[in-house]
Amino acid sequence: MSTTERERFGFFRRRGGERDAWHAVQLARHQDRPYTLDYLERICDDFIELHGDRAEGDDPAVVAGVGSFRGQSVAFVGHQKGRDLKQRTYRNFGMPSPEGYRKAMRVFSLAGRLGFPIVTLIDTPGAAPGVGAEQRGQSGAIARAQLTLMRVPVPVISCVIGEGSSGGALAIGVADRVLMQQNAVYTVISPEGCAAILWKDAGEAKRAAAALRPTAEACLALGVVDLIVSEPSGGAHRDHARAAELLGDAIQLELEVIAAVPPAQRRAGRRAKFRSMGAFQE
C-alpha cells in the first residue's frame, strides 16, 4: 500500500484486545449498518438486479446484477441482510443457499464474457445451514463459486462491508484485491460458533472474538486484506452517504490499478495471491 493510499483511506493504529475485537463484531453487525443494496443505490448511476440461478430458484440472501459505476459497466454481487424482522427473515439473515451462489456464478461468468469488472460485497454470518441446502449442494456451490472467481479473466475487487464469516463469505471473496471496511470483521467462524466448540460455551463469544483476531487491521497484518476502507466517524451506520462515498472511491481506485494489468498476468497473480496465504514452518 502506498503512502498516498494510507493517507487517503486512513491507517489504524494497532489497538488489539478483547474489547476492541468485540466492539468491531458489534459494529459489523449493527442493524443500521449499510447493506449491499444501500451501497449499490448510492454508488451506482444505474443498477439492475438479476434474479434466479436458472436451476432451482432465487436466493434473496444474495444480490447480483449489473450496474453503471462511475462511467463503466460493472457486475456486482453481495450478501444481503434485512433490517426489520420481516426483511431479516426474507433475506434469511444474509445466509446464502446454494441457489444464491449459483446466481452469483452466473453473473461472474456473464461479467467474464462481456469484459466487465466484478465487485463483490461480503456481509454474512455464514452459508445457510439446512437439510435442503445440503441436498441442493451447499459445499459444491461454495467451492465452485470460488473456482469461478479464481478463473474469470476480468478484474475482481472484493470488500468485506460487515460480517465476513466462514466459507459462506469467502465463496464470493476470491479477488485480485481484497478490501475491508474499518469496522468490518473477517473470520473462519462466528465468535459464537468458535466459543461453542472450543470453550463449550457460546457465552464465551467475546473471548473467542479476541482470539480469532477478526478486525480489519489484524486481517491486513495477516496478508488476507490489501486495503482498509475508512468509515465515517463512529461507524458506517452513522452516515450511509459518506460511507458509500468512501467505499466507492476505494473501489474506483482499486479498479484503476488492477485493470491496467494484462488479463493472463492478473489471473496468475490472483492464484499466486491465495497460494501464498498461510503461516507454517519448514
Binding site: Q135, Q138, L147, S166, L170, I189, A208, R213, G278, F280
Partner: protein, 326 residues
C-alpha cells in the same frame, strides 16, 4: 449464529470421540458390536466383516491400503504449523499441535507424496482425521498445493482422500483462506488438463467439503460417510428442522447428484486405479479380481457386500452407487 465449520459428528467411533477409552472401543463395531483383533482390522481394511461398517483409517494406513507396495515417496514431510494468531482457548494452540503430533506420529493432518496406484503414477494427498479432527490449517493447505504442484510438474493425476471436520479455527482467517488456496491449485490442474480424483471419507465437512474436496473431476465416497457443509447438530440447533436418517451421508449425496460413485473400502483401490488409468489416458487398469487371479481384497469385498445387504438392504453396485435390492 451459524456455526458452519464444526467438527460435531453424531458417530462416536472417531479416534477423538468421547465415551469409553479408545483401546476398548477402537476395534469394536459401533453398529453391530463385533470385536476384532488389531491384525484382523488391518486385514479387513478396518471394515466390519459382519455389517460393513467402515472404521476410521489413519493417513499412513490409508496410503498402505491404496498404493502399490513400496511406491509411496512422501514430500513436504517437514512442514509444521506455526501459531500466527497466538491462539489460546483452554490450551495454547502449539500445545494442542504438540499433543496431536505425539498421539499420531504425524506433523499435521495431511500426508502427501508421489505414488503408483494399480501401476498408474499419481500425486497423492491423504488427510488424517485423528490429527485435530483433520482440520485444515496452513500446513494442510500448503501440502495439498505441493501435491498439486507435483502432479503438474510430472503431468500426473492428483488423488486426494479427504477426512476433515473443516477449517482449523486456531489459525483464524488464515485457515479460511486455505479453502481458496486449495481451489487455486485445482484451477491450475484444470487449466493444465490434469485430472483430479477426490475421495471423500467419513467425515468430510465444513471448509474442506466446500473447497478442493468438492472439485474432483471424479468424486468417490465411501459408504455411510458424513459429507456435508454444516454438521447435523448445527442444522438441528439453527433451523429446528428434523433431520432425515441419512442427513448428509454419502447415499443422500449420491441421490442428489453430488458424488459420482459410492465405493466400499475393499473395492476402493481398484476403483481409484481404474479411474486414474482412464483419466491419465493410459492402459486401462484390470483389477486382478476381474482377470481371475487370487485377490483377498476382492474376496473380502464380496463378503462385505453380502453382509451389508443383510443389514441395510442396500448393496454396492458394481460401478459404485447404492443399488436397492428388489
Amino acid at each position: 449464529m451459524a456455526q458452519n465449520i464444526n467438527v460435531d459428528i453424531s458417530r462416536t467411533d472417531e479416534p477423538n470421540g468421547k465415551g469409553e477409552p479408545a483401546h476398548r472401543t477402537r476395534n469394536t463395531c459401533p453398529t453391530c458390536a463385533s470385536h476384532y483383533r488389531e491384525d484382523e482390522m488391518v486385514r479387513n481394511l478396518r471394515v466390519c466383516t459382519n455389517c460393513g461398517h467402515h472404521f476410521p483409517v489413519t493417513a499412513r494406513e490409508r496410503i498402505l491400503q491404496l498404493v502399490d507396495d513400496g511406491s509411496f515417496a512422501e514430500i513436504a514431510a517437514g512442514l509444521h504449523s506455526s501459531d500466527p494468531l497466538g491462539f489460546t482457548d483452554s490450551r495454547p494452540y502449539p500445545e494442542r499441535v504438540d499433543a496431536a503430533m505425539r498421539s499420531t506420529g504425524l506433523r499435521d493432518a495431511a500426508v502427501v507424496g508421489a505414488a503408483a496406484i494399480g501401476g498408474t503414477p499419481v500425486a497423492l494427498a491423504v488427510m488424517d482425521f485423528s490429527f485435530l479432527g483433520g482440520s485444515m490449517g496452513s500446513v494442510v493447505g500448503e501440502k495439498f498445493a505441493r501435491a498439486a504442484d507435483l502432479a503438474l510438474e510430472r503431468r500426473l493425476p492428483l488423488v486426494s482422500v479427504a477426512a476433515s471436520g473443516g477449517a482449523r479455527m486456531q489459525e483464524g482467517v488464515l485457515a479460511l483462506m486455505q479453502m481458496a488456496k486449495t481451489v487455486a491449485s485445482v484451477d491450475e490442474m484444470q487449466e493444465a488438463g490434469r485430472p483430479f480424483i477426490s475421495v471423500l471419507v467419513h467425515p468430510t465437512t465444513g471448509g474442506v467439503a466446500a473447497s478442493f474436496a468438492a472439485l474432483g473431476d471424479v468424486v468417490i465416497a465411501e459408504p455411510g460417510a458424513l459429507l456435508s457443509f454444516s454438521g447435523p447438530r448445527v442444522v438441528k440447533q439453527t433451523t429446528g428442522e428434523s433431520l432425515p436418517d441419512d442427513f448428509g451421508l454419502s447415499e443422500s449425496n449420491f441421490r442428489h447428484g453430488h458424488v459420482d460413485l459410492i465405493v466400499p473400502r475393499p473395492e476402493l483401490r481398484d476403483m481409484v486405479a481404474r479411474v486414474a488409468a482412464i483419466l491419465a489416458g493410459g492402459t486401462p487398469y484390470r483389477p486382478p479380481s476381474l482377470v481371475g487371479e487370487i485377490d483377498p481384497v476382492g474376496a473380502i469385498g464380496r463378503a462385505l457386500a453380502g453382509a451389508r445387504r443383510r443389514v441395510t438392504g442396500v448393496r454396492p453396485f458394481r460401478n459404485g452407487g447404492p443399488h436397492v435390492d428388489d
